[in-house]
Amino acid sequence: MALAFRNGLRTVARRLQVRNYADAAKGDEMALTFAAGNKVFYDKVVVKQVDVPSMSGAFGILPKHVPTLAVLRPGVVSVTENDGKLNKIFVSSGTVTVNDDSSVQVLAEEAHPLENLDRAAAQESLNKAQSEYSSASNDKAKAEAAIAVEVAEEILKAASG
């Protein structure tokens, strides 16, 4: 809870910051490339903000973010486009790269817009993954099942809003 609050604060702070930047200098735009195995969502499109769930916690990316690398965990990536439209996309896994020319690359294994997620199917796959987890015999199968459970849980969370 506290973490979410802090994240919220940080995003607000950054949003304020970016307004300053935008007033001061034109041209610090953030070109987002967002692709998954099934579809390209953005191809070097200039956007306002991207929020990604990473292994070390969710973070928001605004123009002039410090260059970084991160690995995605299952969750919702939200993209605020230049006209203020919020686009929420569920990703299963992947990487985020922020380069020092403010370009951002989000590569995901699988990604789908939130409205395409089906709650019932997610519940079903969660049950299946859980039963696989409990019946897994070796460590590897157990780890694989644990990942499946995590993904299914996140889909369920995302689908139920």
């Binding site: 390209v40 292994m55 260059p67 970084t68 990487t95 380069n99 590569l107």
Partner: protein
């Protein structure tokens, strides 16, 4: 003298071959449209890591080749070659010898598509010979049966793993991550890796391209890594492994598209050649038949004349 029956049999077999090549062309045409569509979706997977390599100065010069025209690329392609030939000073040679390299050849199981596979194998052979590679430090990963068949005799000691059953179905991300996992689990810690693949440009043009891959240590010590935020070890390891999968996926897609386009062209040519042969053989067949008829007529007429 030509025997009529033989010509007839040959004509028939060539007609059948033409039917087969025509069908193969149509099959690969439909596969090609799908591969090309898929490729559009996979391009960012190649662009992302390349951009990162460029930004962290792991690779010198622009890595993004999508905008440069063919001429520029040719020049660019020549430069590294010259480097390899010219810059082998003794101490560098020593360093080069110690360097552990991995070569990933992107091909498929299917042939009949021109020089797509042999081009890749030839380039790897040349690089291996140029670097005077020893089997212990330079390992080959063969994706698809074709490159394995070409390389395995001469470079048996270099073989690390090979992947089969590529090219029957369109490659998916699952295939790529499985391959990445196999390569990682093979237990060969390389300093530098290269993926050799055919970059698709247009239905009539593809080009052999080499994409570098780097392991965790190399990324950590990249010249411009200081510019990047602190990343913990596990994360970096995950990142490099995932990047390998992404690059493999991209290369697979590029390869699939160029292979299908090359097969389409090859089969089109084969169909045309068959048509040409059929034309010639039909002519020969008709002439021979006419000759047989004429000869028989002469025999009958001269026989009748002798009886008079």
């Amino acid at each position: 003298m030509v025997i009529l029956k033989q010509v007839q049999i040959r004509l028939k077999s060539i007609k059948n071959i033409q039917k087969i090549t025509k069908t193969m062309k149509m099959v690969s045409a439909s596969k090609f449209t799908k591969a090309e569509r898929d490729l559009q979706a996979a391009r960012p997977f190649g662009y992302g890591p390349r951009k990162f390599y460029q930004m962290s100065h792991l690779v010198k010069g622009p890595v993004d080749e999508e905008t440069s025209d063919a001429k520029k690329k040719k020049k660019k392609k020549k430069e590294p070659e010259a480097e390899v030939v010219a810059e082998l000073k003794p101490e560098e040679k020593e360093k080069e010898k110690k360097m552990k390299r991995i070569y990933i050849a992107m091909t498929s199981d299917r042939g009949l598509c021109g020089g797509v596979h042999s081009g890749i194998a030839r380039r790897i052979k040349r690089d291996l010979n140029l670097r005077a590679a020893s089997g212990a430090n330079h390992k080959l990963v063969c994706v698809g049966d074709k490159s394995r068949l070409i390389l395995r005799r001469a470079y048996a000691s270099h073989m690390l793993v090979s992947v089969k059953d590529i090219g029957r179905l369109a490659p998916g991300f699952g295939d790529a991550s499985l391959m990445a996992a196999i390569i990682t689990e093979a237990g060969f810690s390389y300093d530098m890796g290269e993926i050799f693949y055919n970059k698709y440009h247009s239905p009539v043009k593809y080009e052999l391209t080499v994409i570098p891959i780097f392991n965790k240590a190399r990324v950590e010590n990249a010249p411009n890594m200081m510019a990047f935020d602190d990343v913990d070890e596990d994360m970096l390891e995950c990142y490099t492994e995932w990047t390998l999968a992404a690059l493999l996926y991209y290369a697979l897609k590029e390869c699939a598209a160029s292979e299908q386009s090359a097969r389409m062209a090859a089969m089109d040519n084969a169909t045309k050649n068959a048509a040409e042969m059929i034309r010639k053989l039909t002519l020969l067949f008709n002439r021979t038949r006419q000759a047989v008829i004429t000869r028989e007529l002469i025999e009958i007429i001269s026989g009748a004349a002798a009886l008079k």
